[in-house]
């Protein structure tokens, strides 16, 4: 299953937040009430109604400002720990689209708070969100309805600078590798984040932690979640060959 992938070139991102707004618009997600709290990042975090969020990270290096933008979203893992976790919990909220590889949540399925917490904690990128009111879970849908209709995801369609890219996985991997090679000379720390295991591939030019705590897959150590992940990995690999 080759499927689809995103390539997010953070070196081209100007944090215009067109993607964040386009995502809200296409998914008809309401705005949340926010406050200015000393940062341009708003809303403060992903939520049941915010699937895409431009994270702003401000650093000072040698007395000079560095400002990174990280347009966070679901990575659509090739082997999604959240899906396997949900399966192990018997929660039928997550499926994977065969054609694209999109990891899809059904926000109408009611999930218990504790299960939602476990599912969220199983995500190495801390993506899925649970809504206390509806008890549903939601996150980026890869705009599967658009993609099935031959359109680009809303965030990609709206991006003016070429930071957001989407297409067949082999082409996207090629594009990502090519861009990485271009940048390596100038930025020795340039890297693709978890390109082999996810469908949302970020290119960064610095330690991913400087962008966002969960920019790259976290090595979560021996926790219950890690145990689950370890348990599901062989199964996942097996399913890969079958699929």
């Amino acid at each position: 299953m080759a499927g689809k992938s995103f390539f997010i070139d953070t070196t081209r991102c100007t944090a215009c937040r067109g993607c964040q707004i386009a995502c809200k618009q296409w998914n008809m997600n309401p705005a949340t009430k926010t406050k200015q709290s000393g940062s341009h990042q708003n809303p403060e975090d992903l939520s049941f109604s915010t699937f895409k969020l431009v994270r702003f990270s401000e650093l000072e290096v040698n007395g000079k400002p560095v400002w990174y933008f990280f347009t966070d979203q679901c990575r659509h893992c090739l082997e999604p720990p959240c899906m396997y976790t949900a399966q192990s919990l018997g929660v039928k909220v997550i499926t994977r689209d065969e054609a694209t590889g999109a990891v899809l949540y059904d926000p109408k399925v009611k999930v218990k708070a504790a299960d939602a917490k476990t599912i969220r904690e199983s995500c190495p990128w801390n993506i899925p969100r649970w809504d206390q009111k509806t008890t549903g879970m939601a996150k980026c849908t890869m705009c599967i309805d658009r993609v099935r209709g031959g359109l680009l995801p809303a965030c990609v369609k709206t991006c003016p600078t070429g930071a957001m890219n989407f297409g067949d996985r082999d082409k996207i991997l090629e594009m990502a590798q090519k861009r990485l090679n271009e940048l390596k000379a100038k930025f020795p720390k340039a890297q693709l984040l978890n390109a082999e295991s996810v469908r949302t591939i970020f290119l960064v030019i610095d330690d991913p932690k400087n962008y966002w705590e969960h920019a790259a897959e976290n090595d979560v150590g021996i926790t219950p979640i890690a145990v689950i992940k370890k348990l599901i990995r062989p199964l996942a690999n097996f399913s890969h060959f079958v699929g």
Binding site: C16, N42, Y68, P160
Partner: protein
């Protein structure tokens, strides 16, 4: 725009957005391109991808700066010092394009011996009038009336030598002391930008309100015009001075005569001293140099055709085409925004239309503007949403019981709810189609105007009036099948033949009455043609609506896309393009061949040439056809504040003495006095330099964007950005509520304490700078804050009266 007109002849962005990709060096100074023109960043990225250098010069580190190869800071209001240093660097290091400077500019022209510059003042200054007698700045002419030149550029009174002398004072040490920019940063920018003086290199400049909103706004842009002229960067692909328009149709609005001093097509507004059409036409620019096209010599044709468009059959040769019916400004009247609101504040008006605007938030010294609105009998507010202007009477500090102003709110259609054209920054007139009907009673602006005028006319018919002729004689026939039809307006703007013309003087061909003119070269001064705006002539012809074209052909490969929409003038995509070729008409940069003379077929190939005459080396003409002398102005004698840009401090500034001279502020600015007009310079109560700006998520005063929940979610409240150093001094933490104050008003905000702001060292002392967005207003959201313009001063550039919203003095403390 005034600076560009003075320097090159037209007040418009010279190139266009796509053309940024053709640049080798892009200088973004005076705007924040990634945040405020986010889609245009696509083309900057394209330039970067081919290895171009992107420079951002700004008081603060913004989203734009994150993408810059070179980012350099300067204190708000010191751009002329920065650019003056660059002029000196280019001259000292012989980086200028000698061929270009000699042939296509007035560098070799000899200036009047009475011209002088001493201690911040040019010759001819009258301190009582606060103005200059510009006659001492005139260029010398020979016995035939042709400007005197010294092509060796050695004469000490030639423009280039005067330029050298003027800017010899702008040493790196002085520039650093004024701007706060470290010398090594200055040199880095000067060197990289100066590298574009070679014919095969192109440098472009992108600016916006960061340059215009100063008491030296026009001269900021003049300084860059001089640099671009020295480097041969005008009229070439990847070059130019590109005024990034912050509103999708603001270029169109000035083209159509929205400003007080011009009527459509940049014709001067008639004044009291020009009582007849003959008087008016006597002011037509002239040139005795046979090699200067002086295109403005055609002005009488454009005026006559405009009058025919206004008054139709009522405009006859006998009545001077109804010229007497046009309103006239007083002799030297300046009816610009700041003066209008000053007069309104003083009770000079009874009524006011606020159309697609929100002066209660957008006007400098907005507190004064809000008080001025209360002096009216009536106001009509036409907008998509209610705003702080329409509801001013119930705003903060207002007592509705005491306000007599009757407000009429007219809802109008949003852009997707009507058909018509917009003219973008790059002068492209692009047709747009209607996507859906406007809600409720909302109507397109054109329909509102159409009906309104009919009502006014009916009232005049019934009740008569003091001077009914202009109203009763106005041709007003923009209906098709009983409905207002925007196509009839677009055609009127293009112009018609009003009579059969058996043999047109231009091409000896026959043209039929009632057909659309093919372009402005067919307009006549005898009443046989009409044209609503000569620069738009050729936009809607017998061949169809050119603005509606959507073909993606690109024959030059330079991204001109000549069949996508239509660009004024006559679909020329890069103006002054004759300056891109050598004397034989060969492109000076063959890799970016914008224009080439095909000697065999005797025609130009490429973009639409700026004038069809053959190249200069044959029997041709100078390249800057809109200037009477045919060349770009290094020496610019037509502006109110001097032929060369000179550094002056903002009206409100942090230092007692201007480091360049004893003239602290621009000597010719108008000082508004009394009432709400107060100012504070070097006043310990207001110790910090403050500037205003926009963010990507909101637009202008936020009238459209504050009602969009997703945008409000992203930028919900008024903020004040400041450095960590300042925050520590005044005991403020990130996210604290603060009060920002000037001598004119107070404003609550949330502090953003950031390393993106840094203190400056100015003449040895530490100067802090803070910044505010101007998108918010008290009406909505309730916790969003109010307008930053409550703090800004009523003072403007002497040429344009654009207010100084980018540099003033404020205090900030914990709320």
């Amino acid at each position: 725009m005034a600076a560009l007109a003075e320097s090159f002849g037209r007040g418009a962005m010279t190139n266009h957005y796509i053309d940024f990709r053709n640049s080798d060096v892009i200088l973004n100074m005076g705007s924040n391109v990634a945040e405020n023109h986010p889609v245009s960043f696509k083309w900057i990225q394209a330039a970067k991808d081919k290895g171009s250098v992107f420079i951002h010069v700004d008081p603060r580190y913004t989203r734009t700066s994150t993408k810059a190869d070179i980012f350099v800071r300067l204190r708000s209001g010191t751009d002329i010092a920065f650019l003056g240093g660059m002029i000196k660097y280019i001259l000292d290091n012989n980086l200028y394009d000698e061929f270009y400077v000699k042939n296509y500019t007035n560098a070799s022209f000899i200036v009047n011996p009475k011209y002088n510059f001493d201690d911040g003042l040019f010759s001819g200054y009258d301190p009582n009038k606060r103005s200059y007698d510009q006659s001492t700045w005139a260029l010398e002419k020979d016995e035939n009336g042709i400007p005197k030149r010294d092509v060796t550029l050695q004469n000490e009174r030639c423009a280039l030598q005067l330029l050298k002398k003027h800017y010899s004072r702008y040493t790196l040490e002085k520039v650093t002391a004024i701007t706060g920019t470290p010398q090594e940063d200055l040199e880095k920018v000067y060197k990289v930008y100066g590298s574009t003086g070679k014919p095969d290199k192109a440098g472009t400049e992108l600016y916006a309100m960061g340059w215009t909103q100063h008491t030296v706004g026009v001269q900021n842009i003049r300084a860059m015009s001089i640099i671009q002229t020295l480097l041969g960067n005008m009229g070439i692909a990847g070059g130019g001075i590109n005024a990034l328009r912050g509103e999708s149709n603001v270029q169109g609005s000035t083209d159509q005569g929205l400003l007080f001093h011009i009527i459509p097509g940049y014709l001067p507004t008639p004044r009291e001293q020009w009582q007849t059409l003959e008087d008016y036409n006597k002011t037509t620019p002239s040139s005795k140099d046979p090699r200067s096209v002086n295109w403005w010599k055609n002005r009488p044709k454009y005026v006559a055709s405009l009058l025919k468009s206004f008054y139709g059959d009522k405009a006859t040769k006998e009545n001077n085409f109804g010229y007497a019916w046009l309103p006239k400004l007083d002799k030297v009247q300046d009816a610009s925004w700041l003066n209008l609101f000053d007069e309104m504040y003083n009770g000079a008006f009874t009524g006011f239309f606020a159309w697609g605007m929100n002066p209660a938030c957008s006007g400098a010294n907005a507190g004064k503007v809000r008080q001025a609105l209360a002096k009216l009998d009536w106001m009509v507010n036409v907008n998509v949403f209610d705003n702080e202007t329409g509801s001013f009477w119930k705003g903060p500090g207002m007592d509705p019981k005491k306000i007599k102003t009757e407000v009429f709110q007219l809802p109008c259609a949003a852009f997707l709810e009507k058909e018509g054209s917009i003219s973008n920054s790059g002068r492209w007139m692009q047709w747009r189609w209607k996507a859906s009907n406007p809600p409720g009673d909302a109507m397109p602006d054109g329909e509102i105007m159409y009906d309104l005028f009919n009502k006014v006319k009916a009232l005049y018919k019934k009740e008569k009036g003091v001077f009914p002729d202009p109203i009763m004689n106005m041709k007003w026939d923009y209906k098709t099948n009983g409905k207002f039809d925007i196509h009839t307006v677009a055609k009127e703007i293009n112009g018609y033949f009003l009579e059969d013309i058996p043999e047109h003087p231009f091409d000896k061909k026959a043209y039929k009455k009632g057909t659309l003119v093919p372009s402005f070269v067919f307009l006549l001064d005898d009443g046989r043609t009409s044209c609503g705006n000569w620069i738009y002539s050729a936009s809607y012809t017998e061949a169809g609506n050119m603005a509606a074209r959507r073909k993606k052909t690109d024959p030059t490969g330079l991204g001109l896309y000549p069949e996508w929409s239509w660009a004024w003038p006559v679909n020329r995509r890069i103006i002054y393009n004759r300056a891109s070729v050598d004397l034989d008409g060969n492109p000076r940069n063959p890799k970016m061949a914008l224009l080439k003379w095909d000697a065999e077929n005797k025609k130009w190939v490429g973009d639409i040439p700026d004038g069809t005459a053959p190249p200069m080396g044959t029997q041709g003409v100078y390249p800057f056809i809109m200037k009477p002398d045919g060349v770009a102005s290094i020496f610019g004698p037509g502006l109110k504040d001097g032929p060369f840009p000179e550094h002056y401090e903002p009206l409100e500034c942090p230092i007692e003495k201007n480091i360049m001279s004893n003239q602290r502020i621009n000597p010719v600015i108008k000082i508004f006095k009394g009432g709400p007009d107060t100012f504070a310079t070097c006043d310990p109560r207001y110790p910090f330099v403050c500037t205003t700006y926009r963010v990507t998520e909101h637009w202008q005063t936020g009238v459209l964007t504050r009602w969009l929940p997703w945008l409000l979610e992203a930028e919900p409240q008024m903020f004040c950005e400041m450095s960590k150093e300042l925050a520590e001094v005044i005991g403020i933490k990130n996210g604290d509520k603060v009060m920002v104050e000037t001598s004119r008003g107070k404003l609550g905000a949330v502090a953003i304490v950031t390393s993106r702001f840094k203190p400056f060292v100015i003449a040895g002392q530490t100067i802090h700078q803070i910044g505010l967005p101007y998108h918010f207003g008290w009406l909505h959201p309730k916790d969003g804050g109010d307008s930053a313009n409550l703090l800004t001063p009523t003072v403007g550039d002497p040429n344009t009266m654009i207010p100084e919203s980018k540099a003033f003095m404020a205090n900030v403390k914990k709320a």
